[in-house]
Symmetry: C2
Subunit: 440 residues, 2 copies
Amino acid sequence: MSESRRLDITPTGTEPPRGMRDVLPLEAEVRDAAARIILDTYRRHGFRRIETPAVESLRLLTRGEGGDNEKLIFKILKRGEKLDLAGVRSEDDLADLGLRFDLTVPLARYYAHNHARLPRPLKAVQIGPVWRAERPQKGRFRQFTQCDIDILGVREPVAEVELILATTEALTALGLEELTVRLNDRRLLTAIAGRCGFAPDRHGSLFVSLDKWDKLGRQGVAAELAAAGHPAAATASLTTLLGDFDPRRGLDSLRPWLGGVDDGGAFEALACILRTAGTAGCSGPRVVFDPTLVRGMGYYTGPIFEIGSAQFPSSIAGGGRYDQLIGKILGRDVPATGFSIGFERVVTLLLERPTGTLPGAERIALLFEAATPDLGPVLAAARRLRAEGFLVSLEPLGRKAGSQRAALAEHGFDGVAVFDGTELPAVRRFRGAAGAEADR
Amino acid sequence: MSESRRLDITPTGTEPPRGMRDVLPLEAEVRDAAARIILDTYRRHGFRRIETPAVESLRLLTRGEGGDNEKLIFKILKRGEKLDLAGVRSEDDLADLGLRFDLTVPLARYYAHNHARLPRPLKAVQIGPVWRAERPQKGRFRQFTQCDIDILGVREPVAEVELILATTEALTALGLEELTVRLNDRRLLTAIAGRCGFAPDRHGSLFVSLDKWDKLGRQGVAAELAAAGHPAAATASLTTLLGDFDPRRGLDSLRPWLGGVDDGGAFEALACILRTAGTAGCSGPRVVFDPTLVRGMGYYTGPIFEIGSAQFPSSIAGGGRYDQLIGKILGRDVPATGFSIGFERVVTLLLERPTGTLPGAERIALLFEAATPDLGPVLAAARRLRAEGFLVSLEPLGRKAGSQRAALAEHGFDGVAVFDGTELPAVRRFRGAAGAEADR
């Protein structure tokens, strides 16, 4: 094909759309392995995989449950006779479908539509792509994978305990270490805010500032609350309570302070989760009460939680109870609580490690003379090597053995076998990533 | 939540968008298991998973390689300042991105963009959703999963042999029986058409009719060719050749007939594939030459193939060599051949079978008194049962044991264990789907 032909197509470019990406084989294998570990762990804990379509109606996606994500929807052009270009007045005339921006809003619709045919309770695990038209930046993409785990139909804190144990087990199986689960409750936050003197209609604004406690610290949050016009006495009372909180004394240290305030059962729920999840076997995670934990989404109604690892600065997984979200679509409330694992963060962590830390079979190339007239014996040798447990790719022998092996090592091969007419050729494993040295 | 609130949202509906679908747990498990078997088989054969975004530029999607699928693209509305409603004259002003309609066109772009960083040859396996705005009908959806396997960079028929062996192994592992691979070559079709007297510029029309040989038979195809204005002598010559073809004599019976016509190497390639793939070990598939096989897509340039099973009327997988497609994007040709497995057909077949035919661990419910004050021992029992290999879901004991068990059985549970204070409660397996009877 001529060079001019090539130039002809250059304006199109061959790159993926802005903010989207191609996944190369080595990363794809890590993603696959991570997804399997997660799915297998939740399956052992009785969770079931479910799937919803990538596309949902804009009426569903713009109901207000998606927060700022609703501004980032990729909308889908109406088709054919439904599209009247002359009569277009607003985007509503052009689109009635969009790509999902999370897995929670679709789950609520899914449950509302299918509940009669679903197990009760429903313990669901979802893993799949979502789309957000965010300004592309390093490490943030417009299509990315979310992994959500939810229990629908269980009011008691056993649901939170199960979610925490299964999720920490999955993260541990992925090789994440020193996990800490931070725990709080939206009802407790509300009770504390009321007790400190914040008016109920200002709680939303308060919680947005409080969510930055980790980043801004006590003084920073106090300044932001003052700037937002919250009463000085309430702010002082709250920052003193939270600033003086002693994690070693934990939840119990708040009990006398709360006095007779109705916390809607938050205290008992948190106590149960801390007691049960925090002591579940020798491999149980560290679970701590953190009264500054808020979590962003408006739909949370009870216990909320986040998991961090000593290996990673930000949280790896988070979630909470949202007993009223499904009711907004189904028409009757269904108790619900869920976790979202930061799948892309987990993959980033795994990719930064030395290769070979996720378990898997060895990948080898079976090299053969391309001019071999009879492929039968080559194929038979490949079958034998597969039966021995190797992943075997047939590859023609290159002219330069050294550079061929270096290329194979670079692309994730663990070694080579050269077809020599025998049934089971010897496998030579690469030493190091260069692949130049091999031993038997 | 009040009934009026519910009515308020009824116009939105809770159903998925038209032509799209929710996947319930029992089907999701079959889909997952099928995808794993396919991926594991190809991995053993040296194939690597790759992923491309769901969204591609419309310039790529409408280059003409997608055939009729290009009319079925879901287009994505431009966003923000890029969208000028007042100046809209055509759909091009509204959209420059679309959802992919297959995995082949994105693969060509992916290879053109990333080839310098990819293994050579690239043996790729993709599995993922595609979208087509087809008129919804039974068993045909607007989002469905495709599974494509391609070898890029290998000119020799060893690539076809590998594809055929790996694909039949995957289908066999899925439980499909009595597989037959039908094989032909586009170059041979062209040579035959020329020899019979069809003008080269009419070959496209000829092949469209020939593709219906299975359905219409010799007379039907002859009638269609006559109606399309093809020369009567050419039609007679071709239908005699194909109608009299004796599959027992196979490819060789065509040799004298072809005489000195240049078939571009098709004959030798087919002979090699038939000889090698057809005799690969005792589990090798049945591979037959079928001169009436055409396959729809215009981009095929060499050997083409389809796999059928005695259990299923239409083909389960198909593909062929397309040595010129990647060049149209990259600017230089790259030899390529690939298979597409009809993933949705495979899932349909698996779902029609009695349950339990795909291998997997037993799923049980560990039933406990919801009022149990201390969940620790219940969780410990669940851990023990998981260590024994069960998938264990904690579920509160229902009031009616019989109907609870029937519901569990209906949702794919294999049995129950009732928490009795011991470390390893006995598992009672259901007999039959009703779940009412249990044994120890």
